[in-house]
């Protein structure tokens, strides 16, 4: 930290009065410029919308502009190389999802897990193993038995995405056989599940609350450490002795070399912003609650855990580098 203050002082002494503002690079004056949040998708969709609302909420805390920059492509690698090309000064924040971690594992990414540092988590939507309401699989045990005896058709998003890795990690841990059917979106495989085209799927609560309430879908187990508030009767996989925890998480990171003081300012502003009614209402709207929000330490360790878990499965599937 010292040397930042020093360089700030040095520059102040050198700069003319007119340029004084540029010298205020010391942590005390951060942020003095607009902050961008880099998102790996086009506008629209969960990650982009969440980032836009977090940007509005954070902006209110920092008193500087916070905006979303869309850098689509390469499963996050376009966004990551963009972030890498920017200085580690805290003015560039990246939204990350499990997709980024899997892209790193494939060896397609300019950044590595050790290059990034978590700031805060914005959403956490655990994956829930679900079958159709009238399915003969009454419990997760039934499903596992059926998967050991035969093959379970399992729906999810693209190969190598979080749904696929989660399903395959579960199948491996439980000793099941799974035939994975990839779809373009969660809504599509939810529809396929209710039509009976597939036997099971990993879905989020935000997409399926009404179907669960109406009995169209039956949640069998949650891929998380703790039971969900919304589904108190549904066991977790870890209760069943399977250490499988996968979740549709969205959070924010900066480059690891970003000064610690600036990281803290960003973390605080984001957490405070996410406490606002606006963000809380958004969470409620998409079917989540305040447990989605997590601070830098917990979020950072979650990123690393998911990276590790993904690594093993992807190596088995021959997807990792």
């Amino acid at each position: 930290m010292r040397h930042w203050m020093k360089s700030g002082l040095l520059m102040t002494s050198l700069a003319t009065a007119a340029l004084a503002f540029s010298a205020t690079s010391g942590a005390d004056d951060f942020p003095s410029e607009p902050i961008e949040i880099v998102v790996h998708t086009s506008p629209g969709g969960g990650t982009d919308t969440t980032a836009r609302i977090v940007a509005l909420a954070t902006q209110a805390q920092l008193g500087t502009n916070v905006y979303v920059q869309n850098k689509k492509g390469g499963g996050g690698s376009v966004a990551m190389s963009y972030v890498k090309s920017k200085p580690a000064d805290g003015y560039t924040v990246m939204a990350i999802t499990p997709t980024h971690l899997f892209t790193m594992l494939r060896g397609n990414s300019p950044l590595d897990i050790d290059d990034i540092q978590g700031l805060a988590r914005a959403t956490d939507d655990p994956i829930i193993v679900m079958v159709r309401g009238d399915s003969r699989y009454k419990s997760i045990h039934d499903l596992i038995e059926a998967g050991r005896a035969g093959v379970i058709k399992w729906g999810g998003t693209q190969i190598g995405g979080v749904d696929h890795i989660a399903a395959m990690s579960f199948a491996k841990a439980a000793g099941m056989k799974v035939s994975f059917v990839p779809f373009d979106s969660g809504a599509e495989f939810a529809a396929a599940l209710s039509r009976g085209d597939i036997d099971a799927a990993g879905l989020n609560i935000s997409e399926t609350r009404d179907q669960i309430a109406a009995g169209d879908f039956r949640p069998l187990a949650v891929m998380a450490d703790d039971r969900m508030k919304a589904l108190p009767d549904v066991p977790t996989l870890s209760e069943k002795g399977l250490d499988i925890s996968f979740s549709t998480v969205r959070g924010y990171v900066v480059l690891k070399s970003t000064p610690k003081a600036r990281q803290e300012i960003l973390e605080k502003a984001m957490l405070k912003g996410m406490e606002s009614d606006r963000y809380q209402n958004y969470l409620k709207g998409i079917g989540l609650d305040e447990t989605s929000i997590e601070d830098a330490a917990d979020w950072d360790s979650q990123i690393r855990r998911m990276y590790k878990a993904g690594q093993e499965t992807m190596q088995d599937l021959g997807l990792a580098r």
């Binding site: 086009s42 492509g73 190969i159 190598g160 009404d210 209402n281």
Partner: protein, 502 residues
């Protein structure tokens, strides 16, 4: 009735009215500008709708969606640069009409056909949404595969040019659609290590390149003759005889558009393609399509706007978006804590009617805007080429860049432009290529998904009645032409001969 009145009462609330009008105008503008699409505009406005009440918020987004689909036709007709993918088919006949000096007639027709298509589909939406939602729910991968096969069956005949060249163009389009990570294997194809290609080639740069850039290059080959600028008809609106001629086309396309819109994930672009093709198939002047037939505008425009109302059906009734823009609107519903589904219709009918009222108003507003604007905009076609096309070029570059803020997309646009120009010289049209790109990933992914679902037993397609229906339609579509062509040759030997010569 009470709910309908409550729904329409948003039209007398000044705040709601203001945001709906704003949504409509923004929609027409972003729709008209290549590269700015209505789905992007809706996504950008989404976070700000948090400040609004749910009803005006969603109404604004829905109005923007309607107007954006119409807006695309303006630039498609005037400068051969479809402002949005759904307007691609409108350019096929719209631009030749504008070149002939009938821009006003084409624009006026686009506005009227759009509004009729849009309003008919909205009526269907409120009357039958829950029932129709069931149809869309029964569409799984096998049904989509059959639908895509039906779409591909039109490839050979989609433009009046040589069927063989159409098929080659279509195959080229399908090839373009294979670029990127394959959904079912996770393998990268034709990405050449360029990360921007990982998720496939974006549609918009291809569209801008094939249409606008290719046209620009052709224009560069033509000397600006004074003769061609004498087009006093430009600001004339379509006549009553025009409407008498196109009304069956408009009705047919409204039906097609509403149906395609209702299918989840199939949006206005495919509706417009099929609407155009059916207009051509049933028209007396089918062989003149592509040279500036007015039915060639009414067909796709009625269909793509009908698809907006249609796509709201599964979005609201099932929570399954009926198009890309509807997907973003669905996000908007969720932000406001509104969960779509059958429950929405029972618990919040007011909201449904408000959305209906907003989209209805949007249609009326852009009809006025479109008709008044037609006289104004059509003057663009009177601007000498030397001034017009450099401006168009700048617009195209910005448009291609703007989608993903990516220079790779600009390169793709330029390559598509040169390819399109070259292909055109050798008699290949843009229509089949676009059709191939639109259907490429659908046909491939739905087949792969179906095969996993069917345990790799293709005969099980026969268990799916809807799929069989589309396979039969595809067969009809393939064999209709030769059989009827043969019959026609007997009846009207002269017209058949002229077709053969072309």
């Amino acid at each position: 009735m009470e709910h309908i009145l409550t729904g329409f009462s948003i039209l007398i609330d000044p705040m709601s009215l203001a945001v709906i009008l704003l949504g409509t105008i923004v929609g027409v503008l972003v729709g008209a500008l290549p590269g700015l699409s209505s789905s992007m505009a809706v996504a950008l406005l989404l976070p700000f709708t948090i400040y609004l009440d749910p009803v005006p918020a969603i109404s604004m987004l829905a109005a923007l969606y309607c107007a954006g689909t119409f807006g695309g036709s303006i630039t498609a007709i005037l400068i051969n640069a479809p402002g949005a993918p759904p307007a691609a088919a409108t350019a096929f006949d719209g631009y030749p009409m504008a070149q002939r000096g009938e821009a006003g007639r084409a624009l006026g027709m686009a506005a009227v056909a759009s509004v009729i298509g849009g309003i008919l589909s909205l009526i269907v939406m409120v009357l039958a949404a829950p029932a129709l939602a069931r149809i869309s729910h029964s569409f799984g991968p096998p049904e989509y595969f059959a639908l895509a096969v039906f779409g591909l069956s039109m490839l050979a005949s989609i433009s009046g040019k040589s069927p063989v060249k159409n098929l080659i163009g279509g195959a080229f389009g399908l090839l373009i659609a294979t670029v990127g990570v394959d959904l079912t294997t996770g393998v990268e194809r034709f990405t050449f290590g360029i990360p921007e290609l990982y998720e496939g080639i974006s549609f918009i740069p291809i569209l801008i390149g094939l249409f606008a850039i290719a046209e620009l290059l052709s224009q560069a080959n033509v000397r600006d003759k004074v003769l061609e600028r004498i087009s006093l008809n430009a600001i004339k609106l379509p006549s009553v005889t025009d409407f008498k001629r196109v009304w069956p086309t408009i009705l047919r396309s409204s039906g097609i558009g509403t149906f395609i819109g209702i299918l989840p994930a199939e949006g206005s672009t495919m509706a417009a393609m099929i609407g155009y093709n059916e207009a051509r198939r049933w028209s007396k002047n089918g062989d003149k399509f592509g040279t500036g037939e007015i039915e060639g505008i009414a067909g796709p425009e009625a269909a793509n706007n009908a698809a907006t109302g249609g796509s709201m059906v599964p979005t609201l009734a099932l929570g399954i978006p009926g198009s890309a823009t509807a997907a973003v609107i669905l996000g908007g519903l969720q932000i406001h804590g509104i969960r779509p589904g059958a429950y929405l219709f029972e618990n919040q009918p007011d909201l449904l009617y408000s959305i209906f009222a907003a989209m209805f108003l949007a249609n009326v507003v852009f009809l006025v805007f479109g008709l008044v604007g037609a006289r104004l905009f059509s003057r663009i076609s009177l601007i000498p080429r030397t001034f017009l096309w450099p401006t168009v070029f700048a617009l195209c570059v910005v448009g291609a860049y703007g989608v993903n803020q990516s220079m790779v997309d600009v390169m793709i646009m330029l390559i598509a432009g040169f390819a399109g120009f070259w292909l055109k010289r050798y008699g290949f049209g843009a229509a089949p290529i676009i059709m191939g790109v639109v259907l490429g990933s659908l046909v491939e992914n739905s087949l792969a998904q179906s095969m996993i679902i069917f345990d790799h037993d293709a005969w099980r397609f026969l268990d799916r009645p809807i799929a069989i229906g589309f396979f039969l339609l595809a067969a009809f579509s393939l064999f209709y032409q030769p059989v009827f062509g043969w019959l026609r040759r007997f009846r009207r030997p002269r017209s058949a001969a002229s077709k053969g010569a072309k």
